[in-house]
């Protein structure tokens, strides 16, 4: 198990808003800052476009962690979108925790277009935390997952 664990590469889905975080990711890329290739970025017009269903779907289809990035509060391109995101995700994350799903698998971060380095460090940190949690088996379509062997 320990050997396997070291090899475990979590699948991370990152929803990034077009105006800040996606640009931040771009900057991280053009600045050649390192962050794991397991992070799959999905561009959304605004963080508030992300419906709780998106987060759950990502888990269903195999994500081990889902992170949502938007403009800093006050800086949303649509003025107030991320304020709604903030409430919505706080509620959703606490609810998932209530259902017994590891709370380290979800996160919201505010990353501006100028924060390429921060984007990379946020991703590195999140990936590390999710890697420590191991594969997501609690909220996913288990039929798509390899069988967990006895004693693992």
């Amino acid at each position: 198990m320990s050997v396997e664990n070291k090899e475990f590469k979590p699948t991370i889905v990152a929803f990034c808003c077009n105006w800040c975080s996606y640009a931040g990711a771009d900057l991280a890329g053009s600045g050649r800052m390192q962050y794991p290739a397991d992070v799959k970025i999905i561009r959304v017009p605004c963080s508030c476009r992300v419906n709780p269903m998106f987060i759950l779907r990502a888990f269903q289809r195999g994500a081990d962690g889902v992170i949502l990035c938007g403009c800093h509060p006050g800086d949303c391109h649509y003025s107030t979108g991320n304020y709604y995101t903030r409430r919505r995700m706080t509620m959703l994350f606490d609810f998932l925790d209530y259902l017994g799903i590891e709370r380290g698998r979800t996160r919201v971060e505010w990353v501006s277009a100028a924060e390429g380095a921060r984007f990379a460090s946020v991703m590195n940190d999140f990936v590390k935390k999710v890697r420590d949690l191991g594969p997501n088996r609690k909220i996913t379509d288990l039929r798509c997952k390899p069988v967990e062997k006895e004693g693992e």
């Binding site: 888990f59 409430r87 919505r88 706080t90 609810f95 925790d97 209530y98 259902l99 017994g100 590891e102």
Partner: protein
């Protein structure tokens, strides 16, 4: 209780005869003597079937979405908790307030038939309620139980006997009951370890047969087209083929009513599988009040629900992930 029903019936006939309303929304006997069913009565003659007793648990507010759009005024009898649902529907512009004449009706708590049967009242043919005790009449004789012990879950956690909206009241035995504690059940789950919580919900949610009764009864679930009816949504199936879909259905159902759920308790009442759906709804209610200030959906018909509102210094979602403890 008998007396309340008589007064209500008389008053309904009076209002019909005066032409103040042209139909009445109330309850009538269902298939069995204990499944009081919502019904619309259009004449004094039809009103002979009107009943109101300790089995009149159905919340009539949802029916007013359709009824209030029809021609003429409808008289509706609403229990205290039902009035919260109605207020919430006004807030969401789902009912036409002008077309409804509301009589707030006294409520002494409703009986949970399943609990009553489990207490020995099989072959139930009826029951008498003296406020303290229930005398259940059965094919095999009478069974007497303390009312408190056979109340529906929603009544054990009653928000209080105050009607929050009405045109007139029928109250024979005034009660000054304080709202009861609704969150003990949620707190008990919060106190478990994550694995215990997971196991608890896994056991509960896997019982779900996706009959959708909890959604259909819910006054907050008033969408014309529900996401769960959309074959493209991937969650429209009946019994869930995998554990994920069970979670998805229940998370999304509870989330869709978050901030709008008045905790009328109908979902848990109708669930044939006895899944404690109120424990899901109340988690959201509890969290919202904790994070965004005390809020009770349906208490009035104006305040914005927390999820369609914000403040600049709201807590960050990381307070959940950084909670500490195991994971």
């Amino acid at each position: 209780m008998q007396k309340v029903a008589e007064i209500a019936q008389k008053r309904a006939i009076q209002l019909l005869n005066q032409g103040a309303v042209n139909r009445v929304l109330g309850w009538k006997k269902g298939e069995f003597p204990y499944d009081e069913t919502p019904a619309v009565f259009a004449s004094a003659d039809e009103l002979k079937d009107f009943v109101y007793d300790s089995f009149s648990s159905p919340n009539l507010s949802k029916y007013l979405i359709e009824e209030s759009r029809k021609e003429g005024k409808v008289l509706a009898f609403l229990k205290p908790c039902d009035t919260y649902s109605f207020n919430q529907l006004i807030k969401e512009h789902r009912v036409n307030r002008e077309n409804v004449y509301i009589i707030g009706i006294e409520c002494g708590g409703m009986i949970d038939v399943v609990t009553l049967k489990n207490r020995g009242a099989v072959g139930l043919t009826g029951a008498d309620d003296d406020g303290e005790n229930i005398t259940a009449h059965t094919l095999y004789g009478d069974v007497k139980v303390r009312k408190e012990e056979v109340l529906l879950e929603k009544c054990q956690a009653c928000k209080g006997k105050k009607h929050v909206i009405y045109d007139e009241l029928i109250i024979v035995n005034p009660q000054d009951e304080k709202p009861r504690d609704r969150f003990a059940g949620v707190e008990a789950i919060e106190a478990m370890t994550p694995q215990e919580r997971f196991d608890f919900w896994r056991a509960q949610l896997s019982k779900c047969i996706r009959c959708n009764a909890c959604r259909n009864i819910c006054p907050a679930c008033s969408c014309l087209q529900c996401v769960f009816d959309n074959p493209k949504s991937g969650v429209a199936s009946k019994a869930s083929p995998d554990t994920f879909e069970e979670q998805l259905y229940h998370i999304i159902r509870a989330f869709h009513v978050a901030g709008r759920c008045t905790d009328c308790g109908e979902c848990s009442r109708v669930c044939p599988q006895d899944i404690p759906l109120h424990l899901l709804n109340r988690k959201f209610i509890k969290d919202m009040s904790a994070f965004y200030g005390e809020y009770k959906a349906g208490e009035d018909s104006e305040t914005r629900p927390p999820l369609v509102d914000f403040s600049k210094d709201d807590v960050e979602p990381c307070i959940i992930s950084d909670k500490g403890g195991d994971r």
